[in-house]
Amino acid sequence: MKFQIKRLVSQILLLFSANLGAFGLKTGFCYPFFYCNACPAATSACPLRAIEVGVFKGEFKWKLITYPLFIIGTVGALTGRAVCGWACPIGLLQRSTGSIARKLKKYSIIKKIGQHKVERYLRYTKYVVLVGLVVVTTVLIGFMFTDICPVGFLTGTIPILILNPGQYIPSSYFYPALVIFILFIILIFTIERGWCRYFCPVGALLAPFNKISYLYIDVEIKACTHCHLCSNICPMGINIPNMHRDPECILCGKCINTCPRLLINFKRI
């Protein structure tokens, strides 16, 4: 349990450091996680926004495209998707809604959705969002993802409306974005880590690094009794005993704490 408290402290510290712009610290870095540079307190750039600016209408600005990829790549090569579990403010938000989502699991309809055979294919949606909405539509049409991004709505739109009453009016994308934001809220309250599982494009960038990352979670499968306590507790819904460097694993370590035979551990190469 102490381990999960350490993770909570890490998430809170990273949330604080992501918002040092409130004290005037604005840097030229990109976050290695999902957070909006339109947040009045943001200290760095959203990696997806940098990619969008880099590919806008087919004008490939390679510096702006590769920079966020290298930042995410460096972090990903070291820790895989641990960023999602230990650093991302949206991960922290979903951690707080996770207990409600977990309680809702007892309702058969939610359980059925979670166990439906289509569910595992839905996880590929985030790659479609990354390639389709962040890259292809930006190349061919113009900004699309940032116009409807629910995280931008949560961390940019709402704080700006509160801090600057009467200074802004909704743009043409406001209402579609509001609908998507409401769906986002419903999603994270009904499916644990629903955003990370299915839609997060930054998670899609980090996921492949789980296959080669320096840090990973290892299961001593030969001694495993397949009690599935670990799989039941996993917020990402992974079949833990059969996972080997699963791209969905966010290295939160809940399975490590749960295994009665202590067969699951963090490993370094």
């Binding site: 339109a38 806008f56 460096t74 940032t146 802004y168 009016i169």
Partner: protein, 212 residues
């Protein structure tokens, strides 16, 4: 294990080395800072600033008006400054309207000025792409950015006004597509009205203008 370790080290060295190289040999850090972090992204916030048609005397950063503005007000007439960045969907929407109003053609990268005759008076149109502008032209954005968000497109009309016994520089700044409910015709009309107001004010006040 040895194979994956080799792959891991190779990937890490390549990626982190490239990142280090970018920091050392390119201006990407400054570019991200100035183009993304320091600029409010109207697309990300899904909001448009409410425009004000009022003119004001106080500059946004309390600095003096740039020399090129004072020189133009002294010798020619009001100015219309159009600020944009390279990557700006709203700027792309608004620029054809500016071309129509001022009867000029330009590319988005262009930094230039042209004095045009509107309603019998000279107005200087200045196109400023802040990704390339330097010196006074670049710094002037902060001077006239009333909202203080560095939002683009930003349109500043500068003329002369009567302020407690003194004729001073008097300006108006509007942003974005002006109002999301407007069509292009209404946007042209609104900008034209601001420019016509500035011409009227200039003609009233220019005889008494004595810049410091």
């Amino acid at each position: 294990m040895k194979k994956i370790l080799a792959v891991q080290i190779t990937v890490l060295v390549l990626i982190s080395g490239s990142l280090g190289g970018m920091f050392a040999f390119t201006d990407v850090y400054d570019e991200v800072h100035s183009r993304i972090v320091s600029v409010i992204c109207l697309s990300c916030i899904k909001l448009d600033p409410i425009i004000s048609l009022e003119f004001t005397f106080e500059t946004a950063n309390d600095k003096d008006h740039p020399n090129f503005v004072i020189e133009n007000l002294t010798n020619t007439g009001p100015l219309f400054l159009a600020y944009r960045t390279d990557v700006c969907a709203y700027c792309d929407d608004m620029e054809p309207l500016l071309m129509e109003i001022f009867n000029v053609t330009f590319e988005k990268e262009d930094i230039f000025y042209k004095t045009v005759n509107l309603n019998g008076s000279d107005v200087t149109f200045v196109h400023i792409n802040t990704d390339y502008a330097k010196g006074e032209l670049f710094e002037s954005q902060d001077t006239y950015d009333i909202d203080g968000d560095n939002a683009v497109p930003m349109f500043t009309t500068i003329t002369l006004g009567y302020n407690r016994g003194i004729i001073e520089e008097y300006y108006n700044t509007v942003y974005g597509i002006l109002d999301p409910h407007y069509n292009d015709e209404q946007r042209v009309e609104l900008l034209t009205n601001i420019i016509l107001d500035s011409i009227e004010l200039y003609n009233e006040n220019s005889p008494g203008y004595k810049p410091d």
